[in-house]
Amino acid sequence: MLSVRDLHAYYGKSHILQGVNLEVRAGEIVSLLGRNGVGRSTTCKAIMGLVEPIGEVLWKDKSLVGLRPDQIAHAGIGYVPEDRQIFPTLTVRQNLELGMKRAGRFGRWTFDDMFQLFPHLRERQHNAAGVLSGGEQQMLTMGRTLMGDPDLVIIDEPTEGLAPMLALQVGRFLDEIAHRGVSILLVEQKLTIALKISHRVYVMGHGRIVFEGTPAALAANEAVRRENLEV
């Protein structure tokens, strides 16, 4: 479904992405791992058109390079940013509403699905989103993106700053999305969640992919893990 070939990206003068190649097939969960500052978030932003992509980004065999972010979203890609970016002045329900591409037209997910997945949000649906706690904000931003009924969701570090118990809940949530036939490109730092639910894993070095394979292959590959990950 999504194939990225020789993707480069720049912030001013610094050359952040130096030829990234990766793929996400239909219904697959793929994780993108690696240390801070190697360009994982930039990869997500380049695919979404928030940063100018140089190279080839094909989605269902159509090129996304040069499209505006809203056109890419309409093509069926959802994006959950690392810093969550919830709309503080709007209520929880209104945040979810803005996730929907057309007013009143539900795709795979309805409001009830969201509230069933995240009971907390049901009670708080009429509160202003600005007063939610960190964990609740993370749930809201994921729910909001899903309301747009994407076929692929790019999620940037959903467990960042969450207490361990909440992080596990995010893991369960990712499973639920996969069951509904939505493929996931997960950018994550915590190995356990990523390794548990992913079909395939990429590890990023400096602006480049340094490893591709199954979670088991990564677990076995001591060198790659020591060089690029924390353990």
Binding site: R35, G161, L168, I193, L195, P215
Partner: protein, 252 residues
């Protein structure tokens, strides 16, 4: 133990409803090299922002050499001998590399807001700046606008500016982030050399850098200190592994 260079007692910070730092107490001995590690979003950078005065703490006390610096603006704290670098490189992009370093020196050399000295003619000042430029080996890029440097060069310049003021307590926020292995090794050697005799507090992700440089490691997770001690002890500590990797270390 003599008066700690830096003492935090039950420091708290929350942005609106979300509490980010939940009561951190920490002592940093003078001249020691202290590393703060922890997963993303644990509040490491926020802690630096509280110490350096960028944000006011919501609770608790921060003391530099025994004197409270709570609520002081960053420039006051800097003048008392504490300087910091930033996770996202923060330099003067349109000024040359040499001028960036020289700006770091101006206050400590007593120039303050003078408009009657010509910086061009200050021999001692320019010599010190040239020396610092050599320390961070950026002589080749002396007259290049800092905005045009490569990522690693900018990080080195950032370290240069941070230590230029001669502060005895130096806070480095992920100095080797985004650097390749060789660049990181180079940066570690540089840090060890130029913070000799000073108190160093460092936020770092790269474990090899931490175990290479630090003599005390504090692990911050979800806004709380869960362990603090010599590197070897921390590496072996079960709780740290769990907290860091989010679940029992043995992989599925």
């Amino acid at each position: 133990m003599s008066v700690p260079a830096l003492r935090l007692t039950d420091v708290k910070k929350s942005f609106g409803p979300t509490a980010v730092i939940m009561g951190v107490s920490l002592d940093v001995a003078p001249g020691s090299r202290h590393a703060i590690i922890g997963p993303n979003g644990a509040g490491k950078t926020t802690l630096f922002n509280l110490i350096s005065g960028r944000f006011p703490a919501s609770g608790g006390r921060i003391e530099l050499h025994g004197r409270s610096i709570d609520g002081l603006p960053p420039h006051e704290i800097n003048r008392r001998g504490l300087s910091r670098s930033f996770q996202v490189t923060s330099i003067f992009p349109r000024m040359t590399v040499f001028e960036n370093i020289r700006c770091g020196l101006l206050w400590s050399r007593g120039y303050k807001y003078s408009f009657w000295h010509l910086v061009g003619g200050q021999r001692a000042l320019n010599a010190a700046a040239a020396q610092l430029l050599a320390d961070v080996n950026l002589e080749a890029r002396r007259d290049v606008p800092a905005g045009l440097l490569t990522y690693a060069e900018q990080r080195a310049l950032e370290i240069g500016i941070t230590i230029a003021g001669g502060a005895d307590t130096v806070l480095l926020d992920e100095p080797t982030a985004g650097m390749s292995r060789s660049e990181a090794d180079h940066a570690v050697a540089l840090i060890r050399r130029i913070t000799a005799g000073k108190t160093l507090v460092m936020v770092e992700h790269d474990m090899s850098v931490v175990f290479d440089l630090a003599d005390v490691v504090t692990v911050l997770v979800y806004g709380q200190v869960i362990a603090s001690g010599p590197p070897a002890e921390i590496r072996a500590n079960r709780a740290v592994q769990d907290a860091y990797l989010g679940a029992p270390a043995e992989v599925a």
